[in-house]
Symmetry: C2
Subunit: 491 residues, 2 copies
């Protein structure tokens, strides 16, 4: 893989002098054109030539307009970062549409370093690489231009570079322990790097290996690739975003997983009050314990309109310490959220250690309302299943408890509740004509929910389908499940 980057290519001083003005104008022009475009650029700068990476980042800041450029260099994670899934720090640094984000010492570099240092075994590396692939694919699929450069230095050149920096050029401060480590274990680093680069060179996020021994050649090569790739991408006609209305409901409705939910379940007053008190006592203790242990939880509620999500959430939070949880209603995204990947708004809400985030509707909107209403294209909602599974795997992998509830009711029960709400002045605000319109799409939503459960009920994050025609039954089921899963998590 690196042989093609050891050909001794050079750009002469004269040639560079001729090319430089064109390259400068070129990168600046594409950057300005990008500002009106509907996608961001995720620019990864990595490689054995760490000093070269640094120089290259500085060069890009000089050539481009630094006001629309954000470089993120990932050193030791902060404690706020450590409390979240590994990729949280990358998600929070992602550039908005129209902007360029430079990433250095990022996810790939971390994987290589961790493997070389022995912090990751083969299986751990494999899982990490799957996460990287999923992350980059999600960005690229969403339209981001993911452009990755690997600056390669042959062993001898690296040794020379470090020696020069150490002695001659007054740059000895730039050399880190890790640079020396790379040199000392050069063959091993190369072999791990090759493995990692091969695995993470997937369509839409290919690596560009650049021969870095001659800095002029390196600058020219990177700038040219950047200009060409971005120009080509900017010239593409914007994707036709046809928003077909969701799939026509098939008649008669086939049996869905929701049909297996036994909607006849009920609980009488006495048993309800008794169980409520019991679970509240239990949950109060478990919640406290989870806080002390730094265990976080993410709880997502989905279900039909008027299924009783709000009531279930209120019963769930009642015994919890208000200082430790936050209920996040998912409504229209803000404009900052709108210029990022659709999962970005959920990533930014992940709780700190020992805290809970409870989502009233969630990322599953992508494969439910957005699918049905045509806000997401078929391509978009189809690939969302895998993206969501990856997202949830990372949450669970960090040791965060993830719980997903679908509260199920029958169409008849829903109608009864709508009518009842209209009579209570105080609850009227909850009912709009849209709610009635959604009812007409019941079959479509049912099929979408069925597919959602099938595709996203994983062994690490399975769906809890709750029978909701009796609200009180549903609330007890939610409490019971949360207590059970908390106990299991703290065992």
């Amino acid at each position: 893989m690196f042989e093609t980057a050891e050909l001794g290519r050079r750009t002469s001083k004269e040639e560079y002098k001729t090319l430089e003005p064109f390259l400068r104008t070129g990168v600046l022009t594409v950057q300005y054109e990008l500002r009106d475009a509907d996608f961001p650029v995720v620019l990864v700068i990595a490689g054995t030539d760490r000093l070269g990476c640094s120089d290259l980042m500085n060069l890009l800041h000089e050539w481009m307009d630094a006001r629309y450029l954000e470089a993120s260099v990932f050193e030791a994670p902060s404690d706020e970062e450590l409390e979240r899934p590994r990729f949280w720090r990358y998600w929070r640094a992602l550039p908005a549409k129209g902007r360029v984000g430079i990433f250095h010492r990022e996810w790939t570099t971390r994987a290589i370093v961790d493997r070389v240092k022995g912090n990751l075994d083969e299986a751990g590396l494999d899982q990490r690489l799957r996460h990287i692939e999923g992350f980059e694919r999600a960005l690229a699929d969403d339209g981001a231009l993911v452009l990755k450069f690997w600056l390669h230095l042959p062993e001898k050149a690296l040794a020379r570079r470090l020696e020069e920096a150490e002695n001659g050029s007054g740059k000895s401060w730039e050399i880190t322990k890790e640079d020396r480590l790379v040199l000392r274990h050069y063959p091993r680093v190369q072999s791990v790097a090759e493995q990692v680069l091969r695995r993470t060179s997937v369509g839409g996020a290919l690596w560009n290996v650049v021969e870095s021994a001659d800095w002029r050649y390196r600058n020219v090569a990177v700038a040219q690739t950047l200009i060409q790739t971005l120009t080509r991408r900017l010239a593409e006609p914007p994707k036709l975003r046809i928003h077909p209305p969701g799939p026509a409901p098939r008649e008669p409705n086939p049996l869905t997983v929701l049909d297996h939910v036994d909607l006849t379940k009920t609980i009488d007053d006495e048993a309800y009050e008794k169980k409520l008190k019991r679970y509240w006592g239990k949950l109060a203790k478990l919640g406290r314990k989870s806080h002390q242990r730094g265990l976080s939880a993410v709880v997502a509620f989905e279900g039909w309109d008027a299924a009783g999500k709000g009531g279930a959430i209120r019963r769930l939070t009642k015994p919890l310490d208000a200082a430790r949880y936050r209920v996040v209603p998912i409504v229209t995204p803000s404009d900052e959220e709108g210029v990022h990947h659709y999962l970005w708004r959920f990533w930014r809400q992940l709780p700190r250690g020992g805290h809970w985030t409870i989502f009233d509707r969630s990322w599953y909107g992508r494969v439910l309302v957005e699918r049905l209403e045509g806000f997401a294209t078929e391509e978009e909602w189809r690939r969302a299943y895998a993206e969501i599974n990856d997202f949830e795997e990372m949450i669970v992998h960090r040791g965060i408890l993830l719980l997903k509830f679908w509260i199920h009711i029958s169409p008849e029960e829903q109608l009864r509740r709508f009518k009842a709400r209209e009579k209570v002045p105080f609850k009227k605000y909850k009912i709009t004509t849209e709610d009635y319109r959604n009812r007409d799409r019941w079959n479509g939503y049912e099929l979408a929910a069925d597919e959602m459960v099938q595709r996203t009920s994983t062994d690490y994050a399975r769906w809890h389908l709750v029978s909701g025609n009796d609200k009180r039954w549903a609330r007890i089921q939610v409490l019971k499940t949360v207590c059970r899963e908390l106990e299991r998590a703290m065992d």
Copy 2:
């Protein structure tokens, strides 16, 4: 101050039972009405009755809609918080318009604890209280409803409360070391608390001292005050936001501080190149050193259109490590920024330890463009001077280097540059008809800039007025100043 909260007031069980449904409906109703209002509620819950505070927060979460409520409890700051000014963690937790933010163990409590524990002397406390006053006043002036409750327990009641929690009620886990400390040093705590509460009871942010020995009385008192205050506020006609065009330029123009800037300064090519290189070398070293020491910097650039801010910023960043600085252009606020205090967007951009944020235009827009164009009312821009001074004092107080540059040019020079830009295809995008319109307001802007410098050039953050008719002269001045101030800061 606390005598009126030791009267032994109680609410009987029966009375509470009668009142509760009305209070619940009341707080929920005002909360829903708030959702469409143009201001946030900052709800502070503090006091010697810490356990009561906790119960009260839980109660509010139960009675209100938790989805539009955010409780923040401030324990030991994270490392990301420690690297910013003390109030950064409070600013980042501020609720948006239409929402309620509950703050517990917040700025006031911290001040009392720090003073009692001896971490603050009288002078330190005094400064802290000034910051608190400034912070709360800024929020209230901006329209936030700042509602502060102090739950008071007489010494005996506190002793009893702790004893009960420890033995009877199975709540012993709730008791912290600090609770015991409060009890042990009760008279001292009370006297410091009284001093702090008195100082921070300023118009728009008065304390409500609540007798907390009887929990029913406490709940009723707090809920009633909350309902009444919010109802009254919601009933106020929205403030007439008359946006007068800025002050008419007086003719002939009086002498302004800008007139003292000697615009004849120039530098020849040779000297320029020589000095540029010298300062770049110096700055490279100083930047590195500042990073190693964790010294952050905030640099703000203001000045006329086409004054050369961009060019000066590029020359300033050239020797810096791209991984350590970010250039933030100040344009139209995002919608998330728009529903917060106007300083919120600047607070959120304050750099981590060892990093720099360079603002291309800044918070001074409030007293320049917003004043002149009438985007801010006279009341708003007038009070902005004090708000800005407080903001900057907190930055400096944290040990962050703050530098402010006004690059000055003559109107003739500006016109020359506009014309020149129009001829360069690549720079055309920089000139709009608005730029020409702004020229007509030169006198107004000049007076506004003059007043800005007068009112915000403080001993901790003075303005650097830079002669800019010769761009190269200006660049060298900026470099020279930054080097000098960095050296001074690291001495």
